[in-house]
Amino acid sequence: MDLQPLFQWFEGTSLGTVVRQSLWLFPVIECVHLLGLALLGGTVLVVDMRMLGLGLRSHPTAGLARKLHPWMVASLLTLIFTGIPMFLSEAIKCYFSPPFWYKMGLLILATTFALTVRRKVALAEPGRVAPALVRLTAVLSLALWFGVGFAGRWIAFY
């Protein structure tokens, strides 16, 4: 399946065109994207570190995960809604950028993992999930989000 015509269409959308033709729109959206990423980083780190026995150790993982869940979802939504206009403005470039495809693949994996396995493990009663599995979940989560951020930055370079 050739996706290039679809990406051509993305690039030609009015939103993409407006962002591309503006001097300041892309940088401003990019700043909000970066701030959202930082907040996502914090919310993900606190829970993953807790699962690794670091950070807020005297508080149960489930409580932290519950308190931080809305912030994680809010930062993810910020990232998605700022990411879309940036993508539309340079869809063809993204089409030919390997880091873009890695990022999208990792993003789908990271989001799915966060909302399914990791959420289940984080909210489980203490002792219900084997400690090794809890740690593995945290490591996978950190690795996936690290990959998303890393690949995202590299869209600018390749």
């Binding site: 940088p27 700043c31 993900v44 606190v46 570190m49 807020l56 932290l64 308190k67 912030w71 951020g149």
Partner: protein, 165 residues
């Protein structure tokens, strides 16, 4: 004091040239800067949100500060090292950039805000540790921290776009 000759000398050193002209090194340093920024700022933001009484409610402020700040500081060190390497790779250009200059001032102000917080209202944290909404001075410190660090990130990002060149 004119630092221009020093920055010119710095830019001509082999290390600076190596980072600037490398196809891998520069992106790696830049990516490290962005990701460690997330580590630092993400954790600081959570402390700030706790101080504002909107995030991590129910968790004592001293726990958030005591357990998360050391990890945030670890991120800060990595962010600073990678940031200095980025500066080192093109100091003349950076030093002459208005966004970079504003950024440096904002980092200093954010540092000052953190120091003031720790040596004033935070000294009496035992009194308000469990408050869902901390005292005004603590909330002000949290708000200033959020605004200043967001400003630092925005200036850092804008630095790449030489609008006023």
């Amino acid at each position: 004091m004119n630092l221009q000759p020093f920055f010119q000398w710095l830019d001509a050193t082999p290390g600076s040239i190596a980072i600037r002209e490398s196809t891998m090194l520069y992106p790696i340093v830049e990516t490290t800067h962005v990701l460690t920024l997330c580590m630092f700022l993400g954790l600081i933001a959570l402390l700030d949100l706790r101080l504002l009484g909107v995030g991590l409610r129910g968790i004592p402020v001293s726990h958030v500060a005591g357990r998360l700040l050391p990890i945030a500081l670890f991120g800060f060190v990595l962010m600073s090292i990678s940031g200095m390497l980025l500066f080192y790779s093109g100091s003349v250009k950076a030093a002459g950039n208005i966004f970079f200059r504003i950024k440096v001032v904002m980092i200093a102000l954010a540092g000052l805000n953190a120091l003031l917080f720790h040596f004033t209202i935070y000294r009496r944290v035992a009194v308000w540790d469990y408050d869902a909404v901390p005292p005004n001075k603590a909330r002000l410190a949290g708000m200033l921290s959020l605004v200043l660090w967001a400003g630092v990130v925005i200036c850092g990002r804008m630095q790449a776009y030489n609008w006023f060149k």
